[in-house]
């Protein structure tokens, strides 16, 4: 392809972006656009898969049958999200198993929030309310992201996530309205998950290396700090409504701006957890890797059987 052609394609591509026309798998796209998308989509897929573990940790101990069923359904949804997202990444030429291996070796990331342990039943509430809540803030704009398959996957994901968010808040509400010990359990979960949830929006804009280009490509449509503020503004009143206290002494409502101002995020903790030092980084990756290793013979058997069947079909004509 001549340089001229390439410039022309680049122009057409950017024009589509400007016009909010979706890019589709067969369309030409810049290499970096493709790479950025693959990185972002698989990272999101990995997060869904790893995200099954902290919640899976409480399914066998859910306090009643209804909660057990709802939690099972939620975790099942997450596995489903993982599937659509890997499929979307595959339309860009990514290989699912390779991507997963990249996560296992630490080359690819997943959301750091899942490196925190789930220590009580209330954490199932906190994760739904705060973690899914934060995820939705991040993801709703992605329903309009410029890459078609990703945008369409996100529509479905967001619909389910917002359902999960409501379920989580309902768990917290029940606990907050329950016995003193239940309310304390809810408060403790909020204390542990509040700051990690704020960190889910990523570094502050000043330190975010991908934001500018991603916004130009309309992969991303809001900055980290904008989304974080939106989350805080939405969540603080929800906490107050059920009588829980946000664990931030600096939190105050600014009458002029209409925003809740919040304290300094502990970025050292943020980078530490990203670097692998969170309480559960090792456990999460170990669990996933072990699942893959223990399932090896099963996947091999399925492949061998499929091959045999194909052979039989062929012979049968």
């Amino acid at each position: 392809m001549s340089e001229k052609d390439s410039i022309e394609l680049q122009k057409q591509f950017q024009a589509k972006i400007e016009a909010d026309i979706k890019i589709e798998p067969k369309d030409w796209m810049p290499d970096d656009y493709r790479k950025t998308l693959i990185r972002q989509i698989t990272q999101h897929a990995h997060s869904e898969i790893v995200g099954m573990l902290p919640e899976g940790n409480w399914i066998t101990r859910a306090p009643n049958l209804r909660r057990k069923a709802v939690l099972l359904a939620k975790v099942q949804d997450e596995a489903g999200h993982g599937l659509y997202l890997y499929s979307a990444a595959e339309t860009l030429g990514a290989d699912r198993e390779e991507s997963i291996d990249d996560m296992h070796t630490g080359k690819a990331k997943y959301s750091s929030i899942f490196n925190y342990p789930t220590l009580s039943w209330a954490d199932m509430g906190a994760i739904g309310w705060l973690v899914d809540g934060a995820a939705i803030m991040n993801q709703v704009p992605l329903c309009r992201t410029s890459y078609g398959p990703y945008a369409r996957a996100m529509v479905r994901v967001c619909k389910e996530e917002s359902f999960h968010q409501r379920q989580g808040y309902e768990i917290m509400t029940t606990l907050a309205n329950g016995t003193p010990i239940q309310k304390e359990m809810a408060q403790d979960a909020l204390n542990r998950f509040w700051w990690p949830a704020l960190m889910m929006f990523g570094p502050s804009d000043a330190n975010s290396k991908h934001t500018a280009q991603s916004m130009a490509w309309k992969i991303k449509r809001h900055t980290n700090d904008e989304l974080r503020q939106k989350f805080v503004d939405a969540t603080v009143p929800q906490a107050h409504l059920i009588g829980l206290t946000i664990p931030d002494a600096d939190l105050k409502f600014n009458e002029e701006t209409g925003h809740w101002e919040f304290g300094e995020i502990n970025w050292e903790e943020f980078y530490n957890v990203i670097k692998g030092n969170g309480p559960c980084n090792k456990k999460r990756i170990d669990d996933r890797r072990k699942a893959k290793e223990n399932g090896m013979w099963v996947r091999e058997a399925a492949r061998a059987y499929a091959d045999k069947q194909k052979e039989r079909m062929k012979k049968a004509g």
Binding site: A69, G82, W121, W297, A301, A302
Partner: protein
């Protein structure tokens, strides 16, 4: 034994089968051999917990002692659980899990199919709904039995071993006692002797496609229906009941 007592016990047994197998399956969550299986196993666990909920709620209603399905599910002592020993068997690996699932699914399918004809309209309705779910369960586990049996040498050996090891727990599915007799006499329950033959043929068919050998019928372990469980059960219960035991009388 009154009809009411027999009906309570009958419904409890079916409810406990679904409950305990659902509990076991849900341990897999996030640890499956492939993402599609995480979805499938979670889905099946969800169906089973749903069945347990309906059955235990009905059992509680029949009992009339002001207990609800959660009290039955979480606040009985080990001896009071009446599930088959088969379903409490630990997961061990995917092969054992699928063997356990398949041997039970085939039973479950034919049991519910018969139960849709029950003169007890509530049981018939639960059976109707469950049958749809269990139809998928059998299909799913049969496919895996075939894939693993007719897959690689390793998978064949492993699934055959799993079937052999679990075989001694299959006899219990078809043992009938006074409870069954009363329920059959009332047109409520299922004739397990008839199901046994159907089960055998169904299992054999799948095993043939899977190139697996049907184990011989030897000594069969019993006890679950009388509340005499395996040593695995206590651990399962201590985990499952923990919240209700540690935080009694609370709403969740």
């Amino acid at each position: 034994m009154t009809k009411q007592e027999a009906l309570f016990e009958y419904t409890l047994r079916a409810g406990d089968d679904s409950l305990i197998l659902g509990q076991r399956l849900s341990e897999w969550c996030g640890h499956g051999p492939v993402l599609e299986e995480d979805i499938a196993m979670t889905n099946i666990a969800l169906d089973l917990i749903g069945q347990a909920t309906s059955l235990l709620a009905y059992a509680a209603e029949v009992e009339g002692k002001d207990r609800d399905e959660d009290q039955l599910a979480f606040l009985r002592y080990e001896k009071e659980y009446k599930n088959l020993l088969l379903v409490e068997h630990p997961n061990i690996d995917f092969g054992v899990t699928m063997a356990r699932q398949f041997l039970f699914d085939v039973f479950h399918y034919h049991f519910f199919k018969e139960l849709t004809q029950s003169s007890d309209s509530q049981l018939a309705a639960i059976a109707e709904k469950s049958l749809k779910e269990v139809t998928y369960h059998v299909k799913h586990s049969s496919e895996w039995i075939i894939r693993l049996g007719d897959g690689t040498e390793e998978s064949h050996t492993r699934i055959q071993q799993a079937v052999n090891d679990l075989w001694e727990y299959t006899g219990e599915m078809f043992v009938m006692d006074q409870v069954d007799e009363i329920m059959i006499a009332e047109g409520v329950g299922v004739d397990l002797a008839r199901i046994k033959t159907i089960w055998h043929d169904h299992v054999q068919q799948v095993f043939e496609r899977a190139t697996l050998t049907m184990p011989e019928y030897g000594y069969m372990q019993l006890g679950g229906r009388q509340g005499r469980h395996t040593e695995y059960m206590g651990y399962l219960l201590s985990e499952m009941q923990y919240m209700q035991r540690a935080y009694p009388n609370m709403q969740w």
